[in-house]
Amino acid sequence: MKPDAVILAAGLSSRAGANKLLFPLGGRTVIEASIEPFLSTCGRIIVVGGARFEELKSALARLSPGVEVVLNDDYLYGMFSSVKAGIRRVGSDRFFIHPGDCPLVPASVPERLLSVRADIVLPVSGGRTGHPVLIDSRLIPEILATDAGSNLRAFIASHGFETVEVDSPGILLDIDTRGDLEKAERNLSREQGRTVADALARSVPKVDNPEKLSGRAGYIADMPFPGMLHAKTVRSTRPRARILSIRLPEMPGGYFTVDRNDIPGRNRVHVILDDQPVFAEETVNYIGEPIMLVVGPSKAKVLELASAVRIEYGDLAAVFTVEEAEASGAPIVGGENNRFAEYRYGRGEATRVIGEAASGVSGSRVFADEISTGYQEHVYLEPQGLVGLYDRERDRIEIHGSMQCPYYIRNALAIAFGWEPGRFRVVQTCTGGGFGGKEEYPSLLACQAAAAAYKTGKPVALILDRAEDIECTTKRHPARIGFRTAVDPEGRVTAMEVEVRLDAGASLGLSGVVLQRTMFTAPGVYRVPNLAVHGVALATNSVPAGAFRGFGAPQATMAIEIHMDHIASSLGMSPLEFRKRNMARKGDLTSTGGTYAFDVPLEALAERVIASSGYRAKRVEYASACLARGTTAACNGLAPLRGIGMSFFLHGCGFTGSGERDHIKAKVRLARREDGTVDILAANTDMGQGLLTTFRKIVASALGLPLERVSFEKPDTDRVPDSGPTVASRSIMIDGKLLEDAAIELKSRWDEPGEIVVERNYRHPDRIRWDDSSFIGDAYPTHSWGVNIVEVAVDPVSFEITVTGVWAAYDVGHAVDERIMRGQVEGGILQGLGYATIEVMEKSGGRLKQRTMTDYVIPTSLDAPPIESSFIDNPYPDGPMGAKGAGELPLVGAAPALASAVENALQARVSRIPLTPEYLMKAVRHAG
């Protein structure tokens, strides 16, 4: 008779911060791995659940039959109650008891125990007893009669036991923390025959931990420069006006102003079109536009003088919204008829197919939506700041500071000064977060600080305070995205028309490129045979919008995903079924008619999060719970409404189309020093995402060297070549790959004497074809993929949203470092959840209403839900160690999954984010 096994899986796992039993481990979950060794030896497997019972059940669904999952209602009384609940069901003459969080027991261990005849048998490794325990069923009544306050260990000790030596340290390890899990993964990979080096490659300690933890890391505001002056910006208080006169207060000796007349070359910030002035000229175009700097030795005095500058304005008619910008007869603030950029692309005959569907002949239907998304502010914790220096002897300018793209700054300085680029040196200091906000904006600050340093001959610090940073630097573009989508009677999308409008603010900046990404991402992960996409980036008299993690994709993904939900519900289909019917697969065409050349693992990703979240059952249950409340939903005293929603999404990795080949032309170097250490020379910046560590890891792995032998300093344009900007999830995939290739070459030349320098230039893969005029082809070299599930509770009175759980699965190729990747995921998800809920930024009359961190709130530790994330390993051949882009992806999918959950909770449609209580109240009234 085969013995039964009782698996204890009832405890809460607050220690690990999420349901640890469902953590992924070696391609399955911890609980599955814990059960595995018993599958062949045992008759019945009885899993005793308690906390998160439904999650557990659905996670184990794929192991059934053979595994019974039973509920211990008393699990809160402790493990012993679960032991009792389990052994009551035992029918064999002997049985195992094993914890569900002990995943590293080899199948040979239960077999070894069975070879010993005794009442109780325990395995021993390294002198310590471990799991599982084998017990004779005759002891069951005695165990059941034991006092509830006792425990199994005490019972075993008092009864006496035999031991078996097994030499498997896995019997000693259970999973209490993420650290344990990592240990388990390492052990596991060792057992699976991988090398130790490979196993350790999963996660290494970040190299900048010590300096950051001890407060020694040098951010720009921490650095002393001898003789340094402070600068304060005088800004426009009008959305659009002519500057009639400027009256300065009396300037004491040593205090200066710096304005457009102090720019030696062109008074323009080079981004794409050089359309933004460094300092305002005759007119100002947005509130907060810089007009001049006041510079001097005492910060307090500088602030006082700056606030005493009097500017007389002659107001001009202004444009505040995209509707106003498009209206005929609108004042023209920029671009052609206020259109900074306008594009179209598509294929097939969307208009005809939609027209036919609308007439109803084919049994098809047409669904329309307009989704809008709001501003989002980066709120990197370190405000923007740079120091400019002028080296009189060598007639050179230096810029040190917080930045993502040293070479963008150097190029911008060259144009503003009309000098050779080589006369500028740009050095990154420790950067306290960027998220895109330090992509193009520091170029503006650098031109100003450089002009001030050049004029005064002294180092000049231009460091923004938080209110300035919020009001005057770039933010995520507000968007309106309209859809008309035709669906055939089988629930297949046959055609789609998309209209995108972005509010670009007062200058083009990067808006054209952002618009392209919004447009390319607009059809989401779906197959759309007939597609027509049109988009405009409109000029308004507002602070210019710019790069922000996701770069136009979060708006598009929010829009398409909620649109898909709306269609599914109109068709009476489940959102999951509708998605599955329409999602792209390998070999299908991308939105721009390129090819998904690699695996599209959406199905596998979805399966994971659906199982672990209990999505299917909850979605139905929550909907009926809401409907059951009917019109009384808004009554006082009711429990929160629960909801669960999902999103499918992709992110195109790296620059659009031929950008890398035609514009960026990245270059990296590796230098092997005489002492055998290797120096990475690249312009990529670590702003918290871990590049100082991951680049070293890539090179060290390729060379087979320990991490300590490879160094990578923060970039200094005098030392490193132009490897391109640190944006668009490109650094690891593009420059990391160049470094890996360089390392492979270096390895082959390792025996050469002396110093060796290996250089690599970007080479465009032949398979990527792109036509930049028609937008046809492979818009991105490849895509990363994700599926998110978000669960919420919505207060039926205040309409406040609490996120109660997030389940996320991704394909980022192979993660170079899993711990760093998890950090990217959790941070990105929380930014996405904030974007969808509490991060509200509105404007009125061209002025932002939220201008401080008191008004513009970001999530705190109390708002952060438990997040369960996992990755499928899907190595990308053109990425280092198989890695693809990963930095932006996690932000992209969170907002739509949350919005879908809120719709599920309230049984009402939403068509915008942020989902403020006021908005939800209206949405519910509308639905009611």
């Binding site: 607050s14 220690r15 690990a16 911060g17 999420a18 923390t177 993420r178 650290g179 996660s203 300690p205 970040k206 900048d208 931990n209 010590p210 300096e211 950051k212 933890l213 001890s214 407060g215 020694r216 890391a217 951010y219 505001a221 002393p224 980066h378 709120v379 990197y380 914790l381 370190e382 405000p383 420790c430 306290g432 977060g433 960027g434 998220f435 305070d465 938080r466 702003m687 918290g688 995402q689 871990g690 760093i820 998890r822 950090g823 995921v825 959790e826 941070g827 998800i829 929380l830 930014q831 401080t852 961190m853 008191t854 970001i858 705190t860 530790s861 109390l862 952060a864 438990p866 997040i867």
Partner: protein, 158 residues
């Protein structure tokens, strides 16, 4: 009018002559060169400037130097010399709780202040204890794990 203020800073008595309304943050960073304490907002919202004053976590951007007479002030520069720091440091590194690092010294001080009051907090208590410290990078989960891990591994230190 500048006044003399005497207090204990990182275990050593100091007397400074300062405008009583000067922010403790500026005194630390500018006058005393203790730049481990960061300014993220200057309005008491972010906690990057957090220090411990008389045993309580405080945003140094909201503390006036004049109020410190006879007080005890602890900053990251003092705390990093302790054994408890080493426990937290290891736990933060193991958990992957540091990204851009700008919130980190403040988070460490908040963790210390919390563990002194409650040496064995549960996850909820940690979230509560860190709720005045914003982090834009990590999503907090790994920081919470770090504090729980420190509480366990450093059991007896607090």
């Amino acid at each position: 009018m500048p006044v003399d203020v005497s207090f204990v800073l990182n275990g050593k008595p100091v007397t400074v002559t300062a405008d009583p309304l000067e922010r403790l943050l500026d005194l630390l960073r500018v006058e005393l060169g203790l730049t481990g304490t960061k300014e993220g907002c200057g309005e008491g919202e972010c906690g990057a400037c957090a220090v411990i004053v008389d045993g309580e976590l405080a945003d140094s951007c909201l503390v006036a130097v004049g109020s410190l007479q006879g007080s005890t002030v602890e900053t990251i520069e003092g705390f990093r010399e302790t054994e408890r720091f080493r426990v937290l440091e290891k736990a933060y590194a193991d958990a992957g709780a540091v990204q851009c690092g700008f919130c980190t010294p403040g988070m460490i001080m908040a963790s210390e202040a919390l563990l002194r009051k409650n040496p064995r907090p549960d996850a909820e208590a940690v979230r509560e204890g860190l709720s005045g410290n914003l982090c834009r990078c990590t999503g907090y989960g790994m920081i919470v794990e770090a504090v729980l891990d420190a509480a366990e591994k450093g059991s007896g230190s607090w």
